[in-house]
C-alpha cells in the first residue's frame, strides 16, 4: 500500500494526532520528557500566543542543544508575565537584559563561551516585536552583520502589549492601538511600507531566516531544530496572536494564527544565506475579511458601515505576498484546515 506523507494539523499539543504517529515524527511538545523551559504558573493572559510560542521554541531548542542553552530575554510581555516577584517560570539559564539590547547581550554571551571553547553551549535571544523591530533593531543588525552565533527569536504580537497596546513598527495597517486611534480620515494605524524584519534579516545574508506561527507546532519546532543545527546568526520570526491587544476571543489564538497564514497576510517561509528556500503553501485560501472580522482592533472596518476600500488594500497586500512567495500552488484544493472555527 503506497504511503502518503503525514500532514500535520495542530489540534492541541497532546492530541492523538501526535501520539499515534511514528515517535520520530511527534512534536517535542508531545514528549513527556520535554524540558518545560517556560513552565506553568506564569501570569500571561488567557489565550496568550506569546506564551505558547515561547514554550514551543524553547522546548525544541533545549532538545536540540541537549539542554545546554542560555536564553537572553528582552524586556516585554514575555519577561514581565514570567517573572513576577518572587517567582520565575524559566527552567533555563535566563538573562533579562534591557529593552533594546538583547541581541548585543547575546552576542557577548556567545563570544565569551566561544573564547572558553564552549561552543557546545548555545545562545538563544528572544523578544517581542517592539524590542526587536523598533528599539532593538540597531543591535540586532549588528548581531547579524557580525554573524554572531545566536538564534534570535521574535515573538510578534504586532504592538507594545505590555505597556498597554501602543503601536509598534510591526503593527499592521488600519489596526487600532492606544496610539493609533480610530480617528481621522485613515483610522487606525497608517498604511506605511511596514517593517518586514524577516526580509531585513535576509538582506544581511545570514545563514538562516524563518517565519512561523503558533498554529503549526511541527513547522515551528522543525525550524527551531534546523536553526539550532547551524552556527552563526539566525533569525526566527513567530506570529503570536494577542487576545488582549487584538481584542479577540481567547479561544481563537491558534485559529487567528492559522488564518494569518491562510490569507497570505503572514507568509511562512525559510531562507538560507539571504535567499528564500521554502515556503509553506496556503492550504485553503481565505479572504482577509475572515481574519479581520474576528478582531476588535479592526472593528471600525466593519461598523458602522463596511470600509471596503480599506479591506481591499489589506487584501491587495496579502495578494502581493502570495505572488511574491508563490504561496498558492495550483493543486491547493484541500478542504479547510481543521480546528475550531
Amino acid at each position: 500500500m503506497p504511503t502518503a506523507p503525514v500532514k500535520f494539523y495542530q489540534v492541541g499539543s497532546f492530541a492523538a494526532g501526535n501520539r499515534l504517529i511514528d515517535p520520530s515524527l511527534r512534536t517535542v511538545q508531545s514528549e513527556l520528557t520535554r524540558s518545560n523551559s517556560l513552565t506553568s504558573g506564569h501570569r500571561a493572559c488567557q489565550g496568550c500566543g506569546e506564551a505558547l510560542g515561547a514554550r514551543y521554541v524553547l522546548d525544541a531548542a533545549m532538545r536540540a542543544s541537549g539542554g545546554r542553552l542560555v536564553v537572553v530575554n528582552a524586556t516585554g510581555c514575555l519577561e514581565v508575565f514570567s517573572t513576577p516577584y518572587p517567582e520565575t517560570s524559566w527552567q533555563v539559564a535566563w538573562l533579562h537584559s534591557l529593552f533594546g539590547n538583547a541581541p548585543a547581550a547575546a552576542s557577548g554571551v556567545a563570544a565569551a563561551l566561544r573564547s572558553q571553547g564552549r561552543t557546545d553551549i548555545r545562545v538563544l535571544a528572544q523578544g517581542g516585536d517592539g524590542g526587536t523591530v523598533d528599539i532593538g533593531l540597531g543591535a540586532l543588525s549588528g548581531m547579524f552583520e557580525r554573524n554572531d552565533d545566536v538564534l534570535y527569536v521574535c515573538y510578534d504580537n504586532e504592538a507594545y502589549m505590555n505597556t498597554g497596546v501602543q503601536r509598534s513598527g510591526a503593527t499592521p495597517p488600519a489596526a487600532r492601538t492606544a496610539t493609533t486611534e480610530t480617528v481621522g480620515p485613515e483610522p487606525g494605524n497608517v498604511f506605511g511600507q511596514g517593517k518586514n524584519l524577516p526580509r531585513i534579516a535576509m538582506a544581511h545574508g545570514i545563514p538562516y531566516v524563518a517565519t512561523a506561527t503558533v498554529s503549526e507546532v511541527h513547522d515551528l519546532e522543525n525550524k527551531v531544530e534546523t536553526a539550532m543545527g547551524i552556527h552563526g546568526a539566525r533569525y526566527l520570526h513567530v506570529l503570536v496572536p494577542c487576545p488582549l491587544g487584538w481584542a479577540a476571543p481567547t479561544n481563537q489564538t491558534v485559529h487567528l494564527a492559522r488564518l494569518a497564514k491562510e490569507t497570505g497576510i503572514f507568509p511562512v517561509l525559510e531562507a538560507r544565506d539571504g535567499e528564500v528556500t521554502a515556503v509553506s503553501a496556503i492550504r485553503h485560501q481565505v479572504p482577509v475579511e475572515e481574519y479581520l472580522k474576528l478582531q476588535g482592533r479592526y472593528r471600525h472596518l466593519f461598523r458602522p458601515e463596511p470600509r471596503t476600500e480599506v479591506i481591499a488594500r489589506i487584501q491587495a497586500a496579502a495578494d502581493a505576498n502570495i505572488a511574491r512567495y508563490g504561496l498558492v500552488s495550483d493543486d491547493a484544493t484541500e478542504p479547510p484546515a481543521g480546528g475550531a472555527p
Binding site: D134, I135, T163, G164, Q166, A178, T180, E181, V183
Partner: protein
Amino acid sequence: MSTLQLVQGNEACALGALAAGCRFFAGYPISPSSEIAEALARALPRRGGVFIQMEDEMASLGAVLGAAMGGARAMTATSGPGFTLMQEHLGYASLAEIPCVVVDVMRGGPSTGLPTSPSQGDVMQARWGSHGDRATVVVAPASVQEVHDLTGTAFALAERLRTPVVVLFDEVIGHMREGVTLAAPPAGSAGRPVPGEPPGPSFRSAYRPNAEGVAMVPDFGRGYRFHVTGLMHDERGYPTSDPATVAALLERLERKTDAALDALPPERYRLEDATVVLIAYGITARMARAAVDVLRERGIPAGLLRPRLLWPVPVAALEEAIAPAELVVAAEMNRGQWSLEVERVAGRQVPLAPYLKAGGSIISVEELVEHVLAATREGVLA
C-alpha cells in the same frame, strides 16, 4: 474660562501641554508615562498637531528637537530608562539652545527597576545625566493640578530661555486622579526669542544672545540660512575651539537659566516661626505638609519649604528657610539626592536629619512625623 474636572495626572500633563500650545509630540511607550502619549495621540490630530510614535526614546527626543527647530512647541514624555536614553539629546538641546519639554514620570531604578512603582530617583540624572557642564531647568509638580499648570510653565520657560525643561513627577502623581481646574494659561506668555534683523545673505548672528543671555535663533523656514551644531560655537553658530569663546558660552548658558528662579519660587508653608524645617518636593511634599500640621498639634514648631523648581537650586529661598532652623529634615524617595543640595546650602551649622526612602512605596505622614519626633528626642534638636 475654567472648568473643574476629574483628571488623571498623566492626562493633566497632556492637557497642560495642549493649553500651552504644544503641537508636536514624539514618544515611545513606557510605564508609567504612556497615558501622556495616548492622550496626545487622540488630541493632537484633532488640533492640527502631530503625534509620532518613534522607534525608541533617542529617536523620540531627536524628532522633538527637529520639530522645535521647525517652529513647533514640542514635547516628549518617558520614564527613567527612557530618560537615560535621552541624555545625549538633552545635552545637545542645551548647547544648541533648542526649546523643548521632556516629561519624566519617575519609577524605581536603576535599570528596568520597578516599572509601576513611584520613586524620586531621577533628580540627579535630570541635573547631571548628560556629560559636561550643563545648565538645567527642572520643575517638580506635587499634584494633578500642578502637573497641568507646571507643564504650561515648562513650555513658557523652555521657549523664553531656549532650553530643554524637564517636568519631573512620579508614578503616584501620574496615575492619581484629582479634581483640577483647567484654566487657560496666562496670556502674554513670551514666545521664543527670534532675530531682530531680517533674513539675508549677510545674516551671521543666529546665536547672538538677547539681554537675558538667550540666543536669538530663527526657526527653520523663515528665510534665514544658519548653522546649528552640537559643537562649541560662536555667535554666528560656527564651530569654535577658542577657549575664551567656549568659556563665555558655557557661562552664558548657565546664567540664563537663573531666570527660572523668579518664575517659579518655592511654596512656603507655616514657615513664619518654624524652627523645624521640612523640605520636600513632588508627591513627598504632600505628606510633609500633613506632617507639619501633625507636628504643630504636638507642639513642634514645624514648617515646610516646597521647591517647585529643583534645578537651578533656589539657594536664596533655601537659605532663608534654613537660617532660623534648629533642625532641617529633607525628605525624598531615593537614597539621598536633592537632600545633598540642602546639605550643601545648610553647611555644617544646622543639624540635618534627612528622611530617605527608596524601594517603591511613598513616604507616609506617620513615618515622617515619627522620624522628626525621634530626631528631636535624640537631641539632634538640642
